[in-house]
Symmetry: C2
Subunit: 309 residues, 2 copies
């Protein structure tokens, strides 16, 4: 079994020892030193250039280095017959749960206001509502969204989620499909975006969505930069429709040094760290999928290219 | 039954409707309009002036308006034979759990560093350790400390607590007594102070404690201002022994506008809001204790004046 490696923003680095330890039987070849392309069985990729996958004639499996697969599906030349498997790693899930729990608590507990008060040396006690009166809305109830919902339920928040198909999650109100989107937004004080980026969800964090939230709602984007219409957010913040935004992902990463988000007093910028892939833990999931390939088994985390996730 | 009310920093305000609703049978008298002092059965107080309680000759119960009773025990003239009951209110406990969870996640997820990076328009991915490799140490495992410990355990942190007597809490390592204090500190990355303020714990957040933490540890004080030796904290931050501090309570409140803490880049100041007393929910606990008094029953939340909590 031969695995090809490509990443648009990091080298093999920490992946190499992690993969070798998890699957000593697999030969690892990092781009551009791929040798005979006909020998490559599987590819582990992050944002491969268009055509890179198509150049591997005997490819039998495409593995994403992240939870999302949008960076693969945007390649118009990708081989349609090859299964694509996203990365599901309990470490990444826990990392996302920590990030979302933290940012929701930040907004719930009025941290941005307390921070501004500290800058002004102002001592004023602001009282947040009870968690049960704070309505959290999660866009996307997949692996990550469901785990975040459970953590927020445990803290006592009023949690709902929106997804394509209805979901049964303990204490989480499920809204499903286009028809339920407005009702979902109307009851959401803090909107958390964890939905896959597809043609249908590109720009979902835009004016139409912001206007349907209660005035003064806040937004957390831990999905993809492509979900956010950046100019719409700045306009919604300017007119007070959106009170605060926390953004971990951006259309252009790294976020350009002259971007308006950096200095905006009501935007928190983090550098795409909500759920960083950890090669040590990810290698276990990758090795398991390569063993499934060798055994001719199906892949539980295989995505549906038509749905986009 | 007649209840006298005194607060050093707020009027009867929201207390009045809350108490009248929870206990319509009780007559409420707010200082200074107490009428015949001999008629007063019980007192609901926050930081009463020395001698105020002693002036009530038939006082049978002292109720604290907060979780702590240090503000009562510091009165040298208080009547020694009258039971003192602290306020235990699930709302306050949940509020403290939210605050501590938030501030621990803030330090764990390197928010202060990301905030400084945002100010400087710097995109740099910092990777925190897994929660299971982050050692949280809670000073005080009473009502509030135990609830915070449970929430942090649920998020996967490595949680220990220090208290006078050993505690049995699921997945929380218990250190008890003076002899175990150094070992507790040596394994603590983030120290959370939730211990009652007594003669024994005054100044416990001081140089000797800071020096026994691993270099670069952080401190959260949600106890009392008297726990912290302010100059020692500034010195420990200056030499890097302590990396960050989050302070909700202060020796002088409101924190004076010219205090060094406000502008310190490694100190977060919040205005004593971690667990604000909510009269609406607190009134239920107070009414229950007055019913116990009328029935001649004991008080589950009665404190031991010799222990100080």
């Amino acid at each position: 079994m031969i695995l090809a490696f490509y990443s648009a923003n990091r080298g093999l680095g920490a992946w190499e020892p992690a993969l070798r330890q998890a699957m000593p039987e697999v030969e690892l070849r990092a781009a551009p030193d791929l040798g005979d392309l006909e020998e490559i069985d599987a590819a582990l990729v992050w944002r491969p250039p268009p055509g890179w996958l198509a150049a591997l004639p005997n490819l039998k499996l495409i593995l994403s280095q992240g939870a999302g697969v949008d960076h693969i599906l945007t390649d118009p030349l990708r081989p349609r017959h090859v299964p694509i498997v996203r990365l599901v790693d309990p470490y990444m899930t826990r990392s996302m749960v920590e990030y979302v729990t933290f940012q929701v608590l930040r907004l719930h507990l009025k941290e941005p206001e307390f921070r501004r008060q500290q800058q002004d040396h102002v001592w004023r006690q602001l009282v947040p509502p009870s968690a049960r009166d704070r309505r959290i809305g999660i866009l996307g109830l997949g692996e990550l969204g469901a785990a975040c919902a459970a953590a927020l339920v445990a803290l006592g928040f009023d949690v709902a989620g929106w997804s394509r198909s209805p979901k049964q999650l303990p204490c989480v109100t499920s809204f499903a499909g286009e028809a339920a989107f407005d009702a979902f937004l109307a009851r959401t004080d803090i909107l958390v975006c964890l939905i896959p980026l597809t043609a249908a969800t590109r720009g979902i964090l835009g004016r139409a969505t912001f206007d349907r939230l209660p005035r003064g709602a806040s937004v957390i984007n831990a999905g993809r930069g492509g979900h956010l219409a950046e100019a719409d957010l700045l306009a919604a913040l300017a007119r007070g429709q959106i009170a605060e935004a926390v953004l971990d992902v951006f259309e252009t990463e790294p976020l350009p040094a002259d971007h308006a988000f950096w200095d905006h007093p009501r935007i928190v910028v983090t550098p795409h760290v909500a759920a960083l892939t950890n090669p040590v833990t990810a290698a276990e999931a990758i090795a398991a999928n390569l063993r499934r390939l060798a055994a001719g088994e199906d892949f539980p985390d295989r995505i549906d290219p038509d749905a986009g996730y």
